[in-house]
């Protein structure tokens, strides 16, 4: 079953995570069969959203979060309407997960986790609008 996407516009601030989590909670109440995707989707939304907040603090727009069930596949989108071109998937720092403790730094870890936990990630940018699309199937 596919339904209209749930959508939410939030300010460009980390505190908005609470509102995003409520959206996620509401989505999974209606889509119980997709429950196994909840943690990965929640994490991916947080990582992509906080990246946009931190790396584009000067952006003047709000940020839109969308969640949709497309025939059993959860599709999440995060859209920044005032962003320079920066693809976090190819231009971010390496996570350095093989490094010893002394050399480890936190940068790059978020995107690395998103890659590991999503089935598919896509970045697009046009007319200062950047969108990251995330897909995850329950099985």
């Amino acid at each position: 079953m596919s339904e209209e996407p749930l959508s939410l516009i939030v300010p460009r601030e980390i505190a908005a995570l609470e509102e995003i989590n409520k959206l996620v909670e509401g989505f999974y109440r209606k889509n119980a069969a997709s429950a196994p995707t909840r943690y990965p989707i929640e994490l991916a939304l947080e990582e992509i959203f906080t990246n946009m907040v931190r790396h584009n603090a000067a952006g003047r727009s709000d940020i839109r979060i969308e969640l949709e069930n497309r025939n059993g596949e959860v599709v999440a989108k995060v859209t920044d309407f005032d962003a320079p071109r920066f693809d976090p998937l190819t231009e971010g720092p390496p996570p350095g997960i093989e490094r010893q403790l002394e050399q480890r730094v936190p940068g790059g870890l978020g995107i690395h986790l998103v890659r590991k936990m999503m089935d598919h990630i896509e970045y697009s940018h046009q007319d200062r609008t950047a969108t990251v699309t995330l897909r995850k199937r329950a099985t």
């Binding site: 490094r99 480890r104 870890l109 986790l113």
Partner: protein, 94 residues
Amino acid sequence: MLQISVGDNDEIILSGRFDAAEAEKARQVFLNLEDAKVVDFARLDYISSAGLGVLLAAQKKLSERGKGLRLINVNGHIRDVFHFSGFDQIFEIV
């Protein structure tokens, strides 16, 4: 919300969500640790890279004195997150 409490054996008990909105609160606690510590994850529902960053910073600081965090009851998705991050190599997880 993230709750941080101290258990009967002086272990740190985390419960709730350890996300970017809560990381600063946790940083205050973890970066003030001066000795080895057990951290119980049994009641933690969620951790993101922001939470991992706090644990990493604490582990680095403690390791300078030859100490470290010992993580217990790390289960399910949180265990996956630790594994994907290579954190199972830099923390003692039991």
